[in-house]
């Protein structure tokens, strides 16, 4: 039992506990904060694995950017839950939903009214099937790892930042460029999707935004339909 094992045990318990809370806590803002804690633990695991650059990247991107983005999305998409109003369907208790009061309690705020009966029953089966899938995955991985004959000793990596940069820009230059194009396309798409279109009065020219494509696509169709109606 050396210090590395102690650190691994601490980080492993931290990661699994916070990951468990991510999927079980009824309040979605708490889930986002537990997610940040889980990402921080994963960064610690990266340090234990000798990947210093990736640990810093993990903290910067996941803990810094992704968690902030998720909290932004929660704030923008579900104001009633953020304001602390009682979840619809969580019983008369109000404020804090009861512990273990069903896995989907805190999530029911966001739609209008309860789900249809068939969907509600379906949800129960989905939970059971998801648990079976998760346990089956762990069992399959256990079988695979047991028969793999894995080495117990690790080599020291040293500092990884300089060789990582050299590899990215020489051996993996083309995947790196493709990844940058993917990131650019995703960001442009995200901006395009979330741009707010002002309600335009009828009779004016369509403005840019998501409604532009629909309006532009309908106009020729209408004209074509009118011409077809005229010909016979």
């Amino acid at each position: 039992m050396n210090w590395e094992m102690v650190a691994f045990a601490f980080l492993g318990v931290l990661i699994l506990a916070s990951g468990f809370r991510v999927i079980t806590t009824p309040r979605i803002v708490h889930a986002a904060l537990y997610l940040a804690l889980c990402f921080t633990g994963v960064a610690g695991i990266f340090l234990l694995l000798g990947a210093d650059f990736l640990a810093a990247t993990q903290v910067l991107i996941y803990v810094g950017a992704v968690t902030t983005l998720i909290i932004f999305a929660i704030m923008l998409s579900s104001p009633p839950e953020v304001r602390g109003e009682p979840a619809r369907g969580s019983g008369p208790g109000g404020g804090e939903p009861a512990r273990g009061a069903g896995p989907a309690r805190g999530d029911e705020v966001l739609g209008g009214g309860p789900r249809p009966e068939g969907v509600q029953a379906e949800r129960g089966w989905v939970g059971v099937l998801a648990a079976l899938a998760a346990l089956g995955f762990v069992a399959a991985m256990g079988v695979v790892y047991r028969g793999a004959g894995l080495p117990a000793q690790a080599a020291s990596l040293g500092r990884t930042t300089a060789p990582l940069g050299r590899q990215i820009f020489t051996t993996y230059a083309i995947p790196f460029e493709v990844a940058s194009v993917v990131l650019l396309a995703a960001l442009v798409g995200a901006i395009y999707l979330s741009v707010r279109v002002p309600p335009r009065p009828s009779g004016t020219t369509p403005v840019s935004g998501p409604s532009h494509a629909g309006a532009g696509g309908e106009m020729p169709g209408e004209r074509e339909g009118g011409a077809n109606r005229g010909t016979p």
Binding site: I15, V42, I61, R115, A131, A133, A179, L183, A186, L193
Partner: protein, 102 residues
């Protein structure tokens, strides 16, 4: 020295948690959180295999960098879609989203 199996077990457990979260929850934001957990578990596995099996080249770490890039792109587009759904459809419950249902 921590044996490799411990890291792999941690990765599998975290992946299973993320898989359960992504499959069992009806909230779209929580599904994205589950996907992020799964991507992190995959990164743990990549780095562990890189350290224990091929410590000379850093292919696993380069791949983890690409996974982080794709995860950032995925979460940006996913949250934009969720935002759009919340604005237009008044809800991000995936059981009620039937925009593409024929």
């Amino acid at each position: 020295m921590v044996p490799l199996e411990f890291y792999l077990g941690l990765g599998a457990a975290l992946f299973a948690l993320g898989l359960f979260g992504a499959l069992a929850r009806p909230n779209a934001v929580r599904i994205l959180m589950g996907i992020e957990l799964m991507l992190n578990a995959a990164n743990i596995n990549l780095l562990a295999f890189n350290r224990y099996l091929h410590p000379r080249d850093l292919a696993g770490q380069v791949l983890a960098v690409f996974v982080i890039t794709v995860a950032a792109a995925e979460v940006a587009v996913g949250l934009a879609i969720i935002f759009l759904l919340a604005r237009r459809r008044h809800g991000i419950d995936v059981d009620r989203i039937r925009l593409l249902r024929g």
